[in-house]
Symmetry: C2
Subunit: 434 residues, 2 copies
């Protein structure tokens, strides 16, 4: 009557459905390769993109140079396990589940009788892989506990580059949106697929790690392609290094030989940046463009015509003032102003509804305002010469700070990708007994 | 250099782009009809659905029997205006902007010089209409202020059906997620398009109405079509009345002659229902199915084979127990158990990250848990014989209450649709001076 008792491994999510045809069943048990075949049975409404699969196993983790999906969930976890073996076991469970779900399968094989809880909650049944990626990260707390102790015997393996972020000028961080011993970023072109994946990974952490915070986000590609716009209404990411340029990625994003077990991994810095949207929306267009350093409509640098035109940081107007103001965001974040420092941004807009505000000056207004902005996500080979270097300058000089506040923050070492049969972070534990 | 100074009315959002070709420009000024033409210039990546337009003007408001979009934002507002004329002026601004945005245009024509704030923040530039609908509602507070006064001279026009919701058994409502004098539900197949629309409408309310709360939500249609699943992993909406059945909609959803100015409108009840997902996920499959009254995989009523099979509420097992338990959700919410009462559900799942919990019993655990669940949205001809009737029974008897908590609530009269040249709610104000 139901397929829940079916114990064949590697079933695709479509097998969950009681009405699965025998053809779908046959396709499902092929495993990875079978997904595409099973897909062809479905009648997608919103294009084939949702049936696309991003491979989980590989040299690098997915979700870093992967073309950006439309939805993201970023979660940070506090470890509660006392034994290293429990951490390793969790990473193994997570690896297997992440790979399964990236192919549109349930988190675990569905060998579920009626008198046991299902091994997958089923909230993504019938949905497609949607280019799901799961990107794991290790926070400083994996290497040294909050009490300063070497909780898992890993302190000596903490990467030098995994520094604690300094306090930046203007930071208004709230503890419940900061830090974490482990991180998971789930990205997909379907919000329900993303939420399903995060929730199943959370369930697999039961007793080992507790979720600390979670941030959702979205980004919408323009109809004609090209750079997306953020909630300030400006194109965001024009000067991002190209993910299609492997050499550039090796230079900017991927850890090299210097990294030991982190080689082929990357470091992620996330910042929850609240934007005073109501304030921004009442700002003159000309001033908005001076803040950003670019034309709002075209995205071109001030004084130029096309979005792709290089910034001319020397250009002056007839009065001798910089065409791109000295405190403009685009100028201050430019590689040339930061000894060549570059990072790969992969940010999402966020909308967390409204929050209470109380003005501390006349007219002493109180009420609700939007709690929305940018969930900044940046990958880099070394945060010391990447985000930290750039943001030290931005935090003190960027006129955009009039409109933005950093309220959440995290830094995580994202290990290299896992090969099939191994698990995420295996290199970190190599040579240690369990 | 920029098109911002262009003062031609009715520009499509694509005109915002500095690099718009002359062909696109020509298409843009045609107005509504031009959108489709301009669209043909774009190269959509995720199918043609995003270019689809849901008409704003019409007998009924959109977003009620409209095939459900994937993203929703529901916002409630408190009126701060003291004059009725200001409320009317707001509704006129909202009507025009909602119609424009439903066609993929900016909220207002872009006649923006550099020394003024843009009349549209630009966060949806380059994005498609995405079947955007905007559905307006009037809460009890429009008719009677919190002080009991007839604040706008509308008290005598309050519809009888717009009752204050009673307190239901088990309600744990929090004030900051309840009520409101006005409501707006924005639905679209693109989250950034939805957020843009709500934000621009919010800006147009400046000085007249303040946002009180906002709830985002998502729903993902299965690859093969059919009923969507909620976060409990069950198909949700199987027994919903068909929106394709006009006669049924007239009976269940649309206000008839009894409604005066509300004729062809509908009443919406919203409930923010938090689900204890971690608890649910640890519940045996068989018990989950008894709670719902349906098979999890197929959606079939217990004891039946197909999702569309009718519930057999009389069926007993060999021991004489009901096959569909007496306290199962599907039984208690069935029309036959409620004197034929029916409502049109149009719910969205929500994920608001994590929230703090503290157990008040051993082992006295504290930590973070998911703040996720169902944003229940139901339309009906009369809430007294619709949601209120059904929920009185559910609130006291539904075993699903073990896993769900109603924390937010609202009721709003959604007036009929506006005809072009008129405005939403015009009938309410007919015959009143300004």
């Amino acid at each position: 009557m139901s397929t829940h008792d079916d114990s064949a491994p590697g079933l695709s999510r479509r097998r969950f459905l009681g009405a699965a045809s025998s053809l779908a069943v046959a396709a499902g048990v092929i495993g990875t390769g079978g997904v595409a075949a099973a897909e062809s049975l479905a009648k997608p409404k919103a294009g084939q993109a949702l049936s696309a699969v991003e491979p989980f196993y590989g040299l690098h983790q997915g979700g870093i140079v992967t073309p950006q999906q439309t939805h993201s969930l970023f979660a940070a976890f506090d470890l509660e396990a006392t034994a290293r073996a429990d951490v390793i076991a969790l990473l193994k469970r997570w690896t297997i589940a992440a790979n399964r779900m990236s192919h549109g399968e349930t988190a675990q094989p569905l060998t579920v009788p009626k008198d046991a809880a299902p091994l997958d909650g089923g909230s993504a049944e019938g949905l497609r892989p949607s280019r799901l990626t799961v990107t794991f990260g290790f926070g400083p707390g994996l290497f040294v506990g909050s009490d300063g102790k070497d909780r898992y015997g890993l302190a000596s393996r903490r990467p030098e580059a995994l520094v604690d972020l300094p306090k930046f000028n203007g930071d208004q961080l709230v503890a419940e949106k900061c830090g974490g011993d482990l991180s998971i970023q789930v990205c997909a072109d379907d919000p329900q697929v993303a939420f399903h994946a995060l929730r199943e990974l959370l369930a697999l952490a039961d007793g080992v790690a507790l979720i600390k915070w979670m941030q959702s986000g979205f980004t919408s590609p323009p109809a004609g392609g090209g750079t997306t716009r953020n909630l300030m209404g400006f194109k965001d990411g024009t000067n991002n290094p190209s993910t299609r340029d492997g050499k550039m990625m090796d230079q900017v994003v991927w850890v090299g030989d210097e990294g030991g077990w982190m080689k082929a991994g990357s470091y992620v810095v996330v910042r929850r940046i609240r934007i005073a949207l109501e304030h921004w929306d009442k700002t003159e267009l000309g001033f908005q463009e001076e803040v950003v350093g670019r034309d709002k409509a075209s995205g071109a640098p001030l004084g130029k015509t096309h979005e792709s035109d290089p910034l001319d940081l020397e250009a002056q107007d007839k009065d001798g003032n910089s065409v791109i103001p000295d405190n403009a965001h685009a100028r201050l974040s430019a590689a040339s102003e930061n000894d060549g420092a570059q990072i790969l941004r992969r940010a999402y807009s966020y909308n967390d509804g409204v929050g209470f505000y109380a003005e501390r000056w006349p007219p002493w207004r109180q009420g609700m305002m939007l709690d929305a902005g940018l969930f900044f996500v940046a990958y880099q080979r070394d945060p010391r010469s990447g985000f930290i270097k750039i943001n030290k300058k931005l935090a003190t000089q960027d006129i955009m700070n009039q409109f933005t506040t950093h309220v959440g923050s995290g830094i995580f070492a994202c290990p290299p990708g896992a090969s099939e049969g191994s698990f995420i972070g295996a290199g970190l534990f190599e040579g240690l007994e369990s």
